[in-house]
Structure formats: C-alpha cells, structure tokens
C-alpha cells in the first residue's frame, strides 16, 4: 500500500525530529554534567577564587547572581503585577489597552544585548549608578517585566468572574475585591510565573555585560553599587579572558553545571507547580 508506506515514512520522520531535539538538548546537559561534575566540591561552592582565577571556589559568583536576580525580581514584580491588574481588572477595552499590549509584546522581543546598551546608557551613565548590582538589576528587571506581566495576566484571567461578582454584590469595593479575592486566588499562578522568570533572569548574560558584571572582584559585593561576578558572565569570561585558559576551562565547566542545575531546577519546579495547579482547577 503506497498510502500506508508514505504515512509510516512521514510519521517516522516526525519521530526522528522529536528524538533529535531531545537528544541534542540532552547531550548538552549530559556533556556539561559529566565533565563539570568532577570539578564540583563543597569548597568549590563555598570558597572565594584565588591564584588568578585558577584555584578556589565560586561562592562570590553564586552570591552575585543571587543579588542581581533578586534585585531584578524586586523591581519587576510589583510593576508587573500592577500592570496585569490594570489590564485585567480596571481597563475598559480601548486603544490605550491595545497600545500597552503591543508594547509589552514588543518589549518581550527586544534582543537582550539591546537591554544591555539601554542599561549602560541610562543606569550606568545617565543616573550614574556605575557598573553595579543596581544597574544590572534594573536592566534585568525591565527584561523580566513582560514575562511577569503575561504570567500574572494569565493567573488573573483564570480567576472566575463569578467570585468577583460575588464580592461586589456583598458591597465590597473594586479595590477591596482585587485585594481580598482576586489577588489571593491568583497568587499561586503569579508565583509560578515569577519562579519561571527567575530561572530566565539568572541565566541572562548580555544585559549584565556592561551594567553589572566583572571578571574578578575581591571577595563578596559590599553594596548595591558594587560590581559583581555573576555565573553566566563568569562562564564567558573564563573562556575568553585571563591568562590560564586550561585551568580556567575546568572552572568554567563547574560554573556551567552549577548554572545549568540552578536554572533547570528553578524552571522545573515552576513547571511542576503549574502542572499541579492546572490539574487542580482545570
């Protein structure tokens, strides 16, 4: 049967596509895990680097990533939720809303290196924050904003209209309804989105290239105006700078594994949470 043959061939092709995708991405994880694992040790995670980046650990690098990410989320979260609340709860359907929607979509599509330049021109230079945690966090925060808005929007839209009406029918005000009923109900969904964007932000390199990251700093960052080492930038820097490429490469493997583990763990956790929420409500 010719029909059946072409069908089987086609389906086999699709299967190959799926397999290749999983294998290609799986092999990246595998190689980095296999080679990075030997570098990992307790001291690698808890010590500061020394001997021109060829010895010691990456503790300040991990801490730096943590600070920058935390700062970015602290900046983007309230703004993102407020924006989503406006779009879902307050906005009459109008041109204004469309303009806001379009700008969110386009902001989400801006290349990350462009965010970096924006941060350089505005936060580092114009506001004079210098190359610092603050500049990096603000830059990454803007990058995370569209992600947080759309996940918060999704969570707010999932709140049934009927319980909004119930609250209003009891004499609650609009803001009272949002604060007491809508936001608490949407909270798990919003959190899931936030966790997902933490994963994304923690792995971004280009935006912090000129706004926050340094190849080497002595010890831990001291204030929000300090330069920091950050995991993603550190991997890049270890591969391209410094005087001992071979020794640095081993550390780069370790950093990659740590970053990969962090990001996959955070994202995996968020995806797991979302899956569970969907099966609870849907």
């Amino acid at each position: 049967m010719k029909k059946e043959f072409s069908q089987n061939l086609g389906f086999f092709g699709l299967f190959l596509c799926m397999l290749t995708t999983i294998l290609a991405l799986g092999s990246i994880i595998y190689f980095i895990a296999a080679r990075g694992f030997s570098v990992l040790s307790w001291s690698f995670l808890t010590q500061v680097p020394y001997s021109a980046m060829t010895k010691g650990g990456i503790a300040p690098v991990i801490v730096g990533t943590f600070y920058i990410t935390l700062g970015a989320i602290m900046f983007a979260l309230p703004l993102g939720i407020a924006c989503a609340v406006y779009l879902c709860e307050y906005s009459p359907k109008s041109i204004v809303v469309n303009i806001i929607r379009i700008s969110i979509n386009n902001l989400a599509g801006v290349p990350s290196v462009v965010f970096g330049l924006f941060g350089l021109a505005v936060f580092v230079k114009f506001f004079g924050f210098g190359v610092s945690i603050l500049s990096g966090s603000l830059t990454l925060g803007i990058l995370a904003l569209p992600m947080i808005i759309s996940s918060a929007q999704e969570a707010l839209l999932a709140v049934p209209q009927s319980i909004r009406e119930a609250s209003l029918s009891l004499g609650a005000t609009k803001w009272g309804t949002i604060k007491n009923i809508v936001l608490p109900t949407a909270l798990p969904g919003i959190l899931t989105g936030v966790i997902l964007s933490i994963g994304r932000v923690a792995g971004e390199t280009a935006p912090i290239l000129f706004t926050a990251a340094a190849f080497y700093t002595r010890g831990y960052p001291k204030s929000v105006f300090s330069e920091v080492m950050a995991l993603p930038y550190h991997i890049y820097a270890l591969m391209t700078e410094g005087a001992h490429p071979d020794k640095q490469r081993a550390i780069a493997y370790g950093c990659s594994l740590v970053l990969l583990f962090l990001v996959l763990f955070i994202s995996g956790f968020a995806i797991f949470l979302r899956q569970r929420q969907r099966s609870l409500y849907g």
């Binding site: 009459p92 359907k93 049934p160 009927s162 319980i163 909004r164 009406e165 119930a166 609250s167 209003l168 029918s169 009891l170 004499g171 609650a172 005000t173 009272g176 007491n180 009923i181 608490p184 109900t185």
Partner: protein, 253 residues
C-alpha cells in the same frame, strides 16, 4: 394591592451596545414577598434582575434608560454609590460561587469589607447567618475547611448565608437552582419561603413550577418585554395575555 413597595422599575430600557435587551419594563417588588420572573432563556429576565443591584455596570458598553427605585431612592443617581446599593440588595448567583477560602471566611467577608472588626460580633453573625440559611448543622464542626469542599447544594446555601450576613434588605436570586439536584432545590425553595419573613425577594427561574411554588407575584418576560405581571395565582390560573398562557401551558419555551 395593599403591600408596601420595596423596589420599583420605571420605564426601564436596557441596551448591550445597540441591542435592546429590555423594552419599557415597569414592575414593583413588594416588601416581604417573593417576586418571580419567568420566561424562556434569553428573554432578558437575568439582565433585568441584575439592574436591581447595578451588577450590569460590570459589563462594558451597556446603557440604561428609566429608573430603578429602592425605597424611593433612585439607585442610579450620580450621588449614589453602587457599593452602598449592593450592601442593601444582595444577590445569589446561578452557579454557587463561594470564595476559595474557608467556610467561616466566606461568611465573614461581607462584614469585614463593611468595616466591622469586632471578633465576637462577627462570630455570632456567622453562626446566625449559617443557621438562617439552614446549613449550620452541616458545617458547624468544619468552619475552617475550604468552602470548595462542600457539595453544590451546600455551596449554594453557603452563598445565601454569605448574603444574609450583610445587613441586606432585598435578596436577588438569579436561577439559584439551575445547577442543583431536586433535593437541594427543595431545600433552597423552603429556605426562600422562610426568608421572605425578613427580606424582599426576587427570583429568576425558568422553572415554572418553581415560580408557582415559591412566589407571590410573577412577571412573564418575552423578548425583552414584560408581557404580564401580577399575583402568581392569577398568572398561573387566569393569564390575561395569550402569550403567557401559551408559555405556562408549555407550548413554547
């Protein structure tokens, strides 16, 4: 008619965009009586009942002409806040819609949003409301459980209790039994008859038997018009309009 008028609709026209959903409706809601609205689906009865607590304001692009009075107060006057009207005119919805909170919080919510903080008072009020809604016996040992764990019928009685906790004067029931089984329906109907001692009640239903069982007055809606309004007994035994007769004898609907 010798009863006191609680709410009144005067020459009400209502539009969704350009579609006219209600045409010149005049109707009285009498104090401590049950007023039922019947008619086929899409006839405007649900739209109409939602005007009594200004719920239709939540829908975009709607226009209202005419007046709705609550004790002679024009509820749509620019000086009147919808929030204050909704405190006096409560609503029970088609589908039970408890908040995803505990049973206790569901009832106390209305009190809290109205600024009541006295704990003992709130506890007492929660108990009273649940008792009035005849659900106290079933939930008294699990007030801190999620309201979503209750059965559909229990949830609907919880929603009624939630409405009673606020010092409401009128209760609007928008097809309250549409999603319930016959036993739960019977309980709700009993409850409505009990509640009319203290409240004025409006109920929308597409179940004519239900209207006949619980209401004192009945209005028949068709295509946005109030075809006939009068004492339930009269409507069901001697309808004046041919269309009403056709509907209640089951020739369409």
């Amino acid at each position: 008619m010798d009863n006191k008028i609680k709410m009144q609709a005067k020459n009400v026209d209502f539009f969704y965009g350009k579609n006219q959903a209600l045409k010149n409706v005049n109707l009285n809601v009498y104090a401590n009586k049950v007023t039922a609205m019947i008619g086929p689906s899409g006839c405007g009865k649900s739209t109409f009942i939602r005007l009594f607590n200004r719920m239709n304001e939540l829908v975009a692009h709607t226009t209202l002409k005419g007046k709705i009075l609550l004790d002679d107060l024009d509820i749509n006057s620019p000086l009147v806040d919808a929030v204050d009207i909704r405190k006096r005119v409560g609503m029970v919805f088609q589908k039970p819609n408890p908040f995803p909170k505990t049973i206790f919080e569901n009832i106390s919510y209305g009190l809290k949003v109205n600024g009541i903080k006295d704990k003992a008072f709130i506890e007492q009020k929660v108990e009273d409301s649940l008792k009035k809604a005849v659900i106290w016996a079933e939930v008294k040992d699990r007030l801190n459980d999620s309201a979503l764990k209750l059965s559909g019928g229990q949830q609907q009685r919880l929603c009624i209790a939630r409405c009673l906790a606020v010092e409401t004067e009128v209760i609007l029931f928008d097809e309250p039994c549409a999603s319930l089984d016959p036993i739960s329906t019977a309980k709700i109907e009993e409850l409505i008859l009990e509640l009319k001692k203290d409240y004025s009640i409006v109920i929308v239903t597409h179940n004519m038997q239900q209207a006949a069982r619980v209401s004192d007055y009945t209005g028949f809606f068709l295509l946005g018009e109030l075809i006939e309004f009068g004492k339930t007994q009269d409507i069901f035994t001697a309808p004046k309009d041919k269309k009403t007769e056709a509907y209640i004898t089951g020739r369409f609907g």
